[in-house]
């Protein structure tokens, strides 16, 4: 209010000039509104779309997986003066445990950048029921920790998420393939004569075919025994808060633990690429729409300055300082930007609601509560900047000349 009081006459003149040129003001406000609506809608749409894609992708995978380092051949250094000719075959990577995984887990638990840490053992097996067989992936987990990374319970379609010795939770596809229901028996054969029969306690549907057909969740100890790695875990999965920091965090974790750390960003390169180009496209659209809005405001004010030459001359003759004239036109630019973007924000928001209500229903677009205020603030600043050139021109008019302008 103090600002308005101090520049009372500037506000009064600016508002009166805008109101006086009603049609001109209205047209440019509609123009700005169209631009602002496009920006608001496309920003909400792309943000919503990306959030949705990320959520779907990361809903079924860990952000960073910490694994034992690959086994490599050690080649002894040849004796002095000797020439060694090596024929080297890459080694088969057998299932191995992370050495001292309890310590690694505790270390990771203590890191604030990780939201959740879940050690697990993962290995292949054959699931059998009667004559039907299916190859599956055994996952021995600590259910409480694991749920913090991939919440399975909400995706259960039958039974409950009950993981303990003698029980397994399996996917919908596998259940259908083997004709299993909750409470039925399932034989798991991990090779080497290690077999076990478990009760199906729950069936989940993650809507990812590969996972629904292959994942079998078991108690950690039971899986360790089946996979012949007593007391071992093959991977520690983690989740982070800042998902786009995952790669940087993974590099830190790898250096810290001496283990291999894979981030979702490294294993989903395609997706990341798509997201980045989408973001860039949106930014380009925003930039160019913003520029055209700015030029629109500038051209309308440039015309207005010429139209008001004589009035500017009168004001100057009556003792209006250059700064006052300058501010009158800067204010008009800002007010046009504010009004146009306010209207445009409303239209953009309505478009999003229409999309959410009547659209294809593929996903829901949330509107960030900061989006419209931010758009309005940016548009207002853009308006003031766009007004700078015409306003300077108005302020520089020679009053003696301007007053004779017809």
């Amino acid at each position: 209010m103090r600002l308005i009081d101090a520049q009372w006459i500037e506000w009064k003149i600016a508002l009166r000039f805008l109101a006086d040129n009603r049609l001109q003001s209205l047209l440019i406000i509609v123009g700005i509104a169209v631009g602002a609506a496009v920006i608001v809608f496309i920003t909400a749409l792309v943000t919503g779309l990306q959030a949705n894609v990320i959520q779907r992708t990361l809903g079924t995978q860990a952000h960073i997986r910490v694994l034992p380092p690959d086994e490599v051949n050690r080649v002894p250094a040849p004796a002095d003066g000797a020439v060694a000719l090596n024929l080297e075959n890459p080694r088969a990577q057998r299932l191995r445990t992370i050495v001292n995984w309890q310590d690694v887990r505790d270390l990771l638990d203590a890191r604030g950048e990780l939201r959740a840490v879940s050690p697990l053992i993962s290995g292949p097996a054959i699931a059998r029921r009667g004559v039907a067989r299916a190859s599956v992936n055994l996952l021995g987990i600590d259910p409480e920790r694991y749920q913090r990374i991939i919440p399975i319970a909400p995706d259960l379609i039958a039974g409950r998420f009950h993981i303990e010795a003698g029980h397994a939770v399996i996917g919908k596809e596998l259940a259908e393939d083997l004709g299993l229901g909750v409470g039925d028996k399932l034989r798991l054969d991990a090779g080497g004569g290690r077999e076990v029969v478990v009760d199906v306690s729950g069936i989940f549907e993650l809507e990812v075919r590969e996972l629904d057909a292959r994942y079998v969740y078991l108690d950690l100890k039971q899986a360790q025994a089946l996979l012949d790695l007593p007391g071992g875990v093959t991977v520690i999965e983690t989740a982070v808060d800042e998902i786009f920091q995952a790669e940087a965090i993974a590099e830190r974790l790898a250096r810290l633990t001496g283990l291999k750390a894979e981030s979702w960003m490294a294993t989903n390169g395609q997706l990341l690429n798509a997201l980045r180009s989408q973001t860039m496209t949106t930014q380009m659209i925003r930039l160019f729409v913003g520029l055209s809005v700015a030029f629109g405001i500038a051209s309308v004010l440039a015309v207005s300055v010429v139209q008001r030459t004589r009035e500017i001359g009168i004001l100057r003759a009556m003792g209006s300082p250059r700064g006052q004239i300058l501010r009158v036109f800067l204010l008009q630019g800002g007010l046009l930007g504010l009004a146009g973007s306010g209207l445009g924000g409303l239209v953009g928001w309505s478009l999003v609601q229409v999309f959410n209500t009547f659209g294809p229903g593929l996903f829901f677009i949330p509107v960030d509560p900061a989006l419209i205020p931010t758009a309005m603030a940016v548009a207002t600043v853009t308006g003031v900047l766009a007004a700078a050139m015409p306003a300077r021109r108005a302020a520089r008019y020679d009053p003696a000349v301007a007053i004779r302008y017809v």
């Binding site: 009166r16 003759a317 003696a400």
Partner: protein
């Protein structure tokens, strides 16, 4: 309103000259070595043929334009070296303008137009500002038009509003550039009567550029400008 000294100096021009495009091949000397003194009580007509430099002189006196030679003292203060901001302030505080083509701001009401110099100076008008503006509108006979838009009244009325506006700051000097140029004789006489009255009542020096010999003759003092020089300066009894 009569505590002012009628012979107090308001304006003094000393060797004042004005050239356009000085120092270039297009240089054009418009005013030569003007000496002029105006005091509070004076109502002066500035006459002369077209192109004699009357409007330029008025613009220089009104601080809308700067002289290229000599000095202009407004209320005893030299003005030549003032910057734009100081000249603007001085113009707002000490000078009132009335132009030939009324020059009101059509977007504003009659009352706002009258108040404009005060609003430019200190923003939102105070109660006493509004009272003064209404008093002046009353004096020019337009009190009932206060809320009308400036372009909804006749030319003669607009010119009277412009006079009220010029006087609202109680200026020491009122400058009028052919204020009756496109008014009919009767309206022109009314406008001149207002100048005489405010000159008397407010003690503001009035300098009027006019083509009309009858109106010029009704002023106590007549200054004639020809080719940028003062050729006669007569004061009638």
């Amino acid at each position: 309103m009569s505590e002012f000294a009628r012979d107090q100096e308001v304006l003094r021009l000393a060797g004042l000259g004005k050239a356009y495009n000085p120092g270039t091949p297009l240089e054009q000397q418009v005013l030569h070595d003007i000496e002029l003194r105006l005091s509070r009580g004076e109502l002066t007509a500035l006459i002369g043929p077209s192109g004699s430099g009357k409007s330029t002189l008025l613009n220089v006196i009104g601080l809308l334009d700067s002289p290229t030679a000599g000095e202009l003292y407004l209320l005893g203060q030299p003005t030549r070296d003032l910057d734009d901001g100081a000249r603007t302030r001085l113009r707002n505080e000490s000078i009132g303008f009335v132009f030939q083509f009324h020059h009101l701001i059509p977007a504003f009401s009659v009352l706002d137009n009258v108040l404009m110099p005060l609003m430019i100076r200190h923003g939102k008008p105070r109660a006493e500002d509004v009272a003064l503006a209404r008093e002046l509108l009353e004096a020019v006979g337009l009190a009932e038009f206060a809320q009308k838009k400036a372009n909804q009244i006749s030319g003669g009325q607009q010119q009277r509003v412009a006079i009220a506006r010029a006087l609202v700051t109680r200026p020491a000097l009122l400058l009028a550039d052919e204020p009756t140029g496109n008014l009919d004789t009767k309206t022109a006489e009314t406008v001149f009567e207002l100048f005489r009255r405010f000159n008397r009542e407010f003690g503001c020096a009035v300098l009027v550029v006019t083509h009309d010999p009858r109106l010029a003759a009704s002023c106590a003092r007549t200054v004639q400008l020809v080719d940028g020089r003062i050729v006669s300066d007569r004061t009638s009894a």
